[in-house]
Symmetry: D2
Subunit: 139 residues, 4 copies
């Protein structure tokens, strides 16, 4: 299962690899993802959502002991439009984990990882100690 | 119709207002949007996608003569988790338009606009002149 | 004194106001700040440094009990070149403080706060508890 | 000379390499750069200014024919405090140049490039055509 959320499942994403502080996924092309009906190009928001999710997966894959994490902030740069009809790959790598924060870089591409559709940088917060104690109890 | 893309429609977003360089939309809560199955909280990526779309709508609402635009880059800060079961509102305002670039700020909230779930800053590129000429011809 | 660091002092910045989660400063124009010798325009990096500092000041001004803070990340958008020969004003506001993170927005302008030279968004980390304990002792 | 601006010169930076879409510089440690008088740590704003400048140098080094450029926006993540008394190295790489925009990633470090003090992502605008025509005449 590897951490697929309902939202990721609903847009059709599938995680391909997770390990050693990195994660990779595929977002198969589909009509529900289209951002521009004229061109058929996938909505940037879907790419961002995928990179956000892969960033979190990369952080989880960097932790010895799992703790809850949340995205704190994220920057995405759209380098070129995705080609309509072609799957989108996303990969992320956790650069560093401190006691509270993890730093991530990622990119999305179609056929060539060296020619990305988008790149991202994000920070994730690790919910240890005080925050975890204050998290709402679950049923 | 006000610029709803298939992706926005597929996640159930609806634009409420557009005009004078600003736009506002609602994302009704739904199970397909969930990012954390335990808490039922909406996936941050859905919020980002909504803010990205509203940013673009705000730019369109600031232009006297419509030109194609694309998101160049976007930063989102997640300030607190959205409450499960509650709709998310997103609004964006275009701060400035130059010949090539438009600058946008936005925020997402649930019941109180002054207590946002997330804030964003983004730049959009206006596809005039050279770029427009190089855009693929349509049907 | 209001939190002026040696670096800020060396570029000539002066804090004008600090209080209620907000801070404002002036950076007097001077030849050492120039980024483009042909135009005499101030280097964007000086503006960013000023906004970073004002962001931190706004966070300090939002705390009931001071704790050490560090900038975690910052985004700056340069909206237009500063006019040569004119002072630059910077102001920042702390939007929210959680146990570990403070969120800030700021802007820099010259004669009209509604026509900014640059806007920024930043997060600051509050060094409480565990981090504070691990901070190096001071002589 | 390699593109050193007065501001960079005033903080003591020196460009070490420029070529093939990349640039590298050193910022020698000095008391004027200090952001925290207690620890002697360099102000984050100085690091950001240096990375901004190196990003622009990397773009210039990626262009066949020089055109004026300006920083459009920049994100910096501070991954750890710089060690007091030690020089800071900054390097940047231009990932892509389109007709109007160049995308850059960079990092700053002290003794180990794999253990950065800060990472950054930035976009630069190329002032061709219309913008260049509208630029103020010199001299």
């Amino acid at each position: 299962m590897l951490g697929l959320t309902p939202f990721m499942a609903s847009i059709g994403a599938e995680i391909l690899e997770m390990g050693a502080g990195a994660a990779r996924a595929r977002l198969p092309y589909g009509p529900k993802l289209v951002g521009d009906p004229d061109s058929g190009v996938v909505h940037g928001g879907a790419v961002t959502a995928l990179l956000d999710q892969m960033g979190g997966a990369a952080v989880m894959a960097a932790l010895d002991h799992p703790v809850p994490i949340v995205t704190l902030d994220l920057r995405i740069d759209y380098m070129k439009p995705a080609t309509a009809g072609v799957d989108i790959m996303a990969e992320a790598r956790c650069l560093k984990v401190t006691h509270e924060i993890a730093f991530v870089r990622g990119s999305a591409y179609q056929t060539d990882a060296a020619d990305p559709v988008a790149i991202c940088t994000a920070t994730f917060m690790l919910m240890r100690g005080a925050q975890a104690l204050r998290a709402p109890a679950k049923g």
